[in-house]
Symmetry: C2
């Protein structure tokens, strides 16, 4: 998008005929580019060096131009990344409503979400060309394809029997040792033997549920809730009790405390503490501490599903719930699926006081993970490559989120509410109450865009006028335009729908 400016350098001699100082003339030129949409929210500004070369100015002039734009709230500096066109503040949309912690969704119910999801999947599979804003992974260019490919080639050459020799039951020891060291950053103190590698994070969550529940038991979950968890509960014959969850601070602790008192059949609590899916909320440290303490006191296992922690937009990602665990109450589940490689099914679990039982269940269910991807991962994690990749991934996602937020704010109708996520790739958007997300899902597909309707994020039918949008997996320009089309569609549907 910045190409038109980048390719059309304006020599400073032309500008200097003007009576204004040079730095201000240049700032005005960029101000116009921003106001007429040549530069768009989230676009990267030229580096200082490029700016100096392009306009034939000194560092002092370049710096002063950027200060003018920064003071005018048109651009933002970002550490290590440079300057970016500021995103129209998402405050243009009202923040999502905070849930009423007194409203726990009725009673615990057996989960029956599968047929709705099947219908959803078979519907969108009829539109293979649709732009996918309903996915769960970042765009492919944000993952380190080349580096992982090279790591895999190295691993195969160094260890030719990776495919023909069976691996250790718990997973590759070298990888587990590296993971144990890295877990310190999440505040988790464990050894390599406290880790069992799993086929992705979802196998870890399934094993945790199987270790602590029997069919018919009730599990407290966040509301809205990642539909993959609802499917796991359904497949295990469990009931879900949906606990109000804040779009900014995550699970409402008081609501859970109340539920534990009134529902003695709750046998586990499942929480995504960092970048809840779909809300994008991050629990504050004090909430994390309270939650762990509450579950420990009640003697209820707390299953932490934490695959997004390293995508939180912060210099140092927050800690996991497990950091506050003193007696093995927390079962920690995570994976490298979202942060590193959607094609690698490498997750891990620390089972707290249920660790031996989880080891038995994992062995009985699927034996050890394949060695190859574990060795590739160990090689990648050993160097600084993973940290560099994470910084790049977070920067890339931030840019995409800012553009998406601007497009949503600019195009969705009155009555839309939205709290910007704290990182990651999900947008949980409340549409005007008149708009059914199921109808919106179908109409959007007809218009060539796939979204996730809110209906599949609750077993109790609570989010019918919500949608989840994901950062695009293709080019940003096409996604911008798609989001604007979605906004207009929502506007039309709100205008024509009978008020409810």
């Amino acid at each position: 998008m910045t190409e038109s400016i980048l390719k059309r350098p304006q020599p400073s001699s032309e500008l200097s005929a003007n009576s204004q100082p040079l730095y201000r003339q240049l700032a005005d030129q960029y101000r116009r580019a921003i106001s007429n949409g040549v530069l768009r929210p989230g676009d990267r500004m030229p580096s200082m060096r490029t700016f100096m070369q392009r306009h034939g100015v000194s560092l002092a002039t370049a710096t002063e131009s950027y200060r003018v734009l920064e003071r005018a709230a048109l651009i933002d500096a970002r550490p290590r990344a440079g300057y970016f066109v500021r995103v129209a503040p998402a405050a243009a949309l009202p923040a999502a409503a905070e849930p009423d912690p007194a409203v726990v969704a009725g009673t615990a119910q057996f989960v029956g979400i599968h047929s709705a999801i099947s219908t959803l999947v078979s519907t969108y599979q009829r539109y293979p060309q649709a732009l996918n804003l309903g996915g769960a992974t970042a765009s492919p260019d944000l993952y380190p394809t080349d580096a992982l490919q090279k790591a895999a080639l190295r691993a195969l050459r160094a260890r030719p029997t990776l495919l023909t020799a069976a691996g250790p039951d718990q997973g590759d020891p070298a990888l587990r040792a590296i993971i144990a060291r890295r877990a310190l950053e999440a505040g988790i103190q464990i050894g390599a033997d406290d880790i069992i590698m799993t086929h992705g994070g979802i196998e870890a969550v399934n094993l945790a549920l199987r270790a602590v529940t029997q069919p018919g038991d009730t599990v407290a979950v966040e509301s809205p809730c990642f539909f993959g968890l609802l499917q796991a509960l359904e497949s295990l014959g469990l009931r879900a009790l949906e606990i109000p969850t804040s779009p900014s601070t995550g699970l409402a602790i008081e609501a859970l405390a109340f539920a534990l008192q009134t529902h003695p059949d709750i046998k586990a609590v499942v929480v995504v503490p960092n970048l809840q899916n779909p809300l994008g909320s991050v629990m504050p440290d004090a909430h994390k501490a309270s939650l762990v303490e509450l579950c420990a006191r009640a003697g209820i296992p707390l299953i932490e599903d934490d695959p997004y922690r390293e995508l939180v937009d912060a210099v140092a990602p927050p800690r996991s719930l497990k950091a506050w665990d003193t007696d093995g109450t927390v079962i920690h589940c995570t994976s490298f699926n979202k942060t590193l490689a959607p094609g690698m099914r490498v997750g891990w679990i620390n089972g707290g006081r249920w660790h031996p039982r989880i080891g038995m269940l994992k062995f009985a269910q699927s034996r050890h993970n394949e060695q190859l991807s574990q060795v590739v991962l160990a090689g990648f994690l050993e160097t600084s490559a993973y940290e560099r990749h994470l910084r790049r991934l977070r920067d890339g996602l931030r840019l995409q989120r800012e553009r998406m937020a601007a497009a949503v704010a600019a195009s969705f109708p009155d009555g839309t509410r939205f709290t910007p996520p704290r990182g990651g790739l999900f947008f949980w958007i409340e549409l005007p109450r008149e708009v059914s997300s199921a109808a919106f899902f179908e109409a959007a597909l007809d218009d060539g865009i796939r979204v996730m309707p809110g209906t599949v994020f609750s077993n109790a039918g609570r989010f019918d006028h919500f949608i989840r949008l994901s950062c695009p997996s293709t080019d940003l320009g096409r996604a911008d335009e798609a989001v604007r089309r979605l906004g207009r569609l929502a506007g039309r549907m709100a205008a024509h729908a009978p008020k409810r």
Copy 2:
């Protein structure tokens, strides 16, 4: 072992001074080498060409020498493989007893095998240097390490995003298409969409059990039974009813028919029809047909666990149970873990009439398999490499089995019974009744050899004086000697144990 003869060529001039014809003198020389143990049962004889060169004789003489040895029952010709020293007929040991089909083991019982297996594992882990005759895969040199490594390097170069892009839910479509074509050889007519890739065969069996049972239900299993299945039943809260199983013809159909009448709570039957683990039996076609018909008539799902079919020692491996299925009664589970690559966790399932439910369970439990190993496998199966590998694997295993059988027959005490398996790598040996396999297991470990005690092959304590030996994963000479030591150990234990 043949080195001493191979390196000490006997020129025919020295021999021809003898009054006997040359071909007979040469045959006598080899007869002596066999009788004094220089050539051992199962050893490969020199090829015709080598024989001619070494002894400076014509093809006619070489052929005649081998005919003499063959008529004397000292060597055997094997198609495409050459001549081998004949194995002392295993008839030296009485065949294992046929089970009494009227004796179904008491009542269905909840499975409690895990703690016994844990103890077993932690015991043998204290002897990491022990020779492993308790494993479940063939020796590493029988798997195509180089070819698979090359296939993996090719796959990674051709498709760099294999690690970073998520794959299709059911598994790689190209691989499923190839598997569907190959399944015709097992008598199975399915399409690529009727296949779901799984993390090894054990995940397939777990999914099948979860699809058709609830905790507390009873499952009919073979007796003796692969302990991995007993662990799966235990982890799913199921009861096992052990059905008598013949060491030569597999599951006793009449016994199952009787059990189905008397136990209306049986919700599934699990059978390993080809090379039952640990028995090594293969069900005759007529039995397969009856079994499928029996289950179909009773409306009971028949879960077929068929990972060893291609290891059956035959020109054309037998068909799967699924070949006789007309109404979706049979759930077919298998993997490439035993036949191709123990390091690859690639299995698949056809769920018969429960296929959609199994697809849901697989997605909820662990999502799709990793793409990389599936693409490697597809590349390998597409060529003739897999068939060539299978022939080599079967030949290698046959040689190992024949030597093992000879060593067992030569060294185990009176009262030992044993039916040679029809292929594969397992030996199920009945020790004299006085010998406890648990004590034998510990004493053997002390002597540096790991075996599997019979106790873990039944939930009803039925095989206390049995052991399972596997073909060795290291050099055959060491294994021969180890089996002889085991035989002497069994002899001592039988002599000193109180009669029971």
